[in-house]
């Protein structure tokens, strides 16, 4: 059965490109427009991996990761930050919150797929 990956970004075009990249590689994709939307959806469905932006309205990526890590079902779920931010302090913050990896936008499809394959196994 195809793995379910959630893409969280307030940018429709980023969500679209992440979704496109993953779907054509055979993954199932669910989209969320911000952290809050994502957290609500994660609680209701089985997600195998999370790819989230950092800066978003309502709930940012760091807060989302912290919340998600409190869920027993998502304690070991791979979470990748996909953001324009590249500062070390931000990365450290993401790592501390429980992020599995960090991708600075823009991403190339093969990069994203290689990372997904690596963390999902």
């Amino acid at each position: 059965m195809a793995k379910m990956i959630m893409t969280v970004d307030d940018s429709a075009s980023i969500r679209q490109m992440v979704s496109f990249t993953l779907k054509q590689a055979g993954y199932q994709v669910v989209e969320a427009v911000d952290g809050k939307d994502a957290f609500d959806k994660i609680k209701k469905s089985r997600i195998n991996m999370l790819i989230t932006d950092l800066n978003m309205p309502q709930m940012d990526g760091i807060e989302l990761i912290r919340n998600v890590r409190t869920l027993p079902s998502a304690r070991f779920m791979p979470i990748i930050m996909l953001t324009t931010e590249s500062q070390a302090s931000k990365k450290q913050e993401g790592k501390s919150a429980g992020a599995t990896g960090w991708i600075v936008k823009p991403f190339k499809p093969e990069q994203l797929l290689a990372v997904v394959k690596k963390v999902l196994g």
Partner: protein
């Protein structure tokens, strides 16, 4: 005087504006910058549907290309799939096996003909031998007649030998009738066997030539098909490479589409920075107190946004060029993908406009035709075998009937022998009077013995015929010959399979061609639509002009002018320079410093590598995902 005063005021104002770099009066600057921010926001938001639409089109295009690629590979596999599943390989093996069997069959039929020839020869001899029996029968009749004459000389002998004479006469008539029937039947069978022999020999010769022709055609077709199968495997590899190249080009466009996100974030940041700078400029930040160098601060902020806009234009144009180039490369790859099908030398693609090996005959119909002919030959060979079988049956029936007839002749001969012996005894009793009759009776006995000898000869010939027939039948019913019917059925199935596969292949090829044309049209439309990026760059350029209408660019700080003119990177140096200036002026808050540092550039930031390496304490050196990826 008034005029002089007006000129003086104008000069003062101009000098004042020139010095600060601002063209519009200070009270109008906040409104003009607010309008600028609104326009910037509008430009960004209005571009989003175009990016989304481009993304959707790209998805659709990629989906179509994926389907096309699968169809091409599926079409090529139709011809070049593994030999075990390939109908051409299977039919080829059947055809070669059938040809080999046919050649063996020709030799067998040739041998069969020798048996028939033997039957004919024996029948011929039988006719000659039976003619001898007929002569004996005539002698019997003659002796019977003489006995009648001789016995009629005296009443005593007349009574005694009249019956003998009549019996001999009757028996000789029977033998003559039987021998006549034997000769007639032997002649008839001889003629029909000879006719069958001639026909089979003639047909065999013709079929040999046809088989040789079919052998050549089948072999040529199979060799050509084997070559095409090998080419089709190469075509599959080429198609896979083209598909991979297309994926790579799609990736370039995916990267291009993402500039909208960077642009959105950059613009949001810019609006915030300008708003903050306006707050400082109007004194709202410091309880209506104007900072000492408020013009210089605002001028610096505007100049920085101007640089950002210039860089954005450069990034947008770069994305346009890369995406256009990517679409064009995809178009070329689509052509090459199509050519991987036609280039395999399969068939002319018709609607695609490509052509396969036009100078080479299409080997598939040629193979089907050769197989049809082969099937025809096999059918004819089966008819020949059937003919041989019929001949054998006829010869067998004839031999059975003739044996029966010869048995009757033998019975008559025995009967005659007994009559002759009786006659000899009777003649002996007559003494000198019966001397002549005794001699005649002795002759009857001798003839009877000769008849037995001839009968034995005929019987031997008939046995030879029967033996030949039995062997012929045994050969005809041999297993390899029966297999020919199986081969014929398999060839029939093979011909149908080839027709089905070939029709399916042609249909698939037509579909691929139509789809290739559709995708190329799709690409052309996308290339036209992507010009929205040029409009976006124009709008950014207009926004720069709008800024120029607020603040004169050549009055900007020298370091920023250089940066502006060259649009060089990295921006971090300039940001630092700018921030240092602002920090010295005491106007820039800590939050704003972070905002400006974080303002995303649309250009790929090569300096990020250094930044990433600084924190890459757990970076995974084993996996080379790229400079912008780090796994914790």
């Amino acid at each position: 005087m008034l005029q002089i005063l007006r000129t003086a005021i104008k000069t003062w104002r101009q000098n004042r504006s020139d010095y600060k770099g601002f063209i519009v009066p200070a009270r109008k600057i906040p409104d003009r910058l607010s309008e600028f921010c609104q326009m910037l926001d509008d430009v960004c938001k209005s571009a989003e549907p175009d990016f989304i639409s481009l993304g959707r089109n790209l998805e659709s295009l990629f989906s179509d290309v994926t389907v096309l690629s699968e169809r091409i590979m599926d079409t090529v596999r139709e011809i070049g799939r593994d030999s075990g599943e390939n109908p051409f390989s299977r039919v080829g093996a059947i055809a070669r096996s059938s040809l080999s069997k046919l050649n063996n069959c020709h030799s067998d039929i040739h041998t069969d003909l020798q048996y028939i020839e033997g039957i004919i020869h024996n029948l011929d001899k039988l006719r000659r031998v039976s003619a001898g029996v007929e002569k004996i029968a005539m002698f019997f009749r003659l002796l019977g007649f003489n006995i009648a004459i001789e016995s009629s000389r005296a009443a005593e002998t007349t009574d005694m030998f009249q019956v003998v004479s009549e019996q001999i006469h009757q028996l000789s008539s029977k033998v003559t009738g039987i021998i006549g029937g034997i000769q007639e039947e032997a002649l008839k069978t001889h003629n029909s066997q000879t006719a069958a022999f001639d026909q089979i020999a003639k047909d065999l010769n013709r079929l040999r030539n046809l088989t040789n022709d079919a052998d050549r055609t089948v072999e040529t077709s199979l060799l050509e098909i084997e070559r095409i199968m090998e080419l089709s495997i190469e075509a599959l590899e080429r198609a896979a490479r083209h598909t991979e190249n297309i994926s790579r080009q799609v990736g370039e466009i995916v990267v291009g589409i993402q500039i909208h996100d960077s642009m959105t974030q950059g613009i949001a940041n810019m609006i915030e920075v300008i708003d903050d700078a306006v707050q400082i400029f109007t004194g709202h930040r410091n309880n209506r107190k104007y900072p000492p160098d408020r013009y210089s601060h605002l001028s610096s902020v505007i100049s920085f946004q101007r640089i950002w806009l210039k860089e954005s234009i450069s990034t947008i144009l770069n994305a346009y060029e890369k995406s256009t180039a990517a679409f064009n490369k995809i178009s070329v790859e689509i052509d090459m993908l199509g050519e991987s099908l036609s280039g395999s030398g399969l068939v002319a693609l018709g609607e695609c406009g490509h052509s396969g090996s036009a100078d080479v005959d299409d080997p598939f119909p040629a193979l089907a035709s050769a197989l049809s002919r082969l099937k025809g030959i096999i059918d004819e060979v089966n008819s020949l075998i059937e003919g041989i079988n019929t001949s054998a049956s006829e010869a067998s029936d004839t031999a059975d009937r003739l044996s029966e007839s010869m048995s009757r002749v033998a019975e008559i001969s025995s009967e005659t022998h007994i009559i002759a012996l009786n006659a000899i005894v009777k003649a002996a009793h007559l003494g000198e009077q019966g001397r002549a009759l005794e001699v005649l009776a002795q002759e009857v006995k001798k003839l009877s013995d000769q008849t037995n000898e001839f009968s034995a000869g005929v019987k031997s010939l008939l046995d030879n015929v029967s033996t030949s027939v039995d062997e012929l039948r045994s050969r005809v019913s041999d297993e390899p010959r029966n297999n020919e019917e199986t081969s014929g059925a398999e060839i029939d199935t093979g011909i149908e399979d080839i027709a089905v596969v070939y029709k399916r292949y042609q249909k698939k090829t037509g579909n691929v061609c139509r789809q290739t044309g559709g995708i190329k049209e799709e690409i052309n439309i996308n290339v036209k639509r992507i010009s929205f990026l040029l409009n976006l760059a124009d709008e950014f350029d207009n926004l720069i002009r709008y800024l120029d209408g607020i603040c004169i660019p050549n009055k900007l700080k020298p370091a920023l002018q250089e940066r502006h003119a060259a649009a060089i990177e990295p921006p971090a140096d300039e940001e630092t320079c700018y921030i240092e200036t602002e920090e010295k002026s005491g106007l820039l808050t800590e939050e704003r410093q972070i905002d400006i540092i974080n303002a995303p550039s649309l250009l790929p930031d090569h300096s990020k590598k250094d930044k990433m390496e600084l924190i890459s304490e757990s970076s995974n050196s084993d996996d080379d995902f790229g400079d912008n990826v780090e796994l914790f």
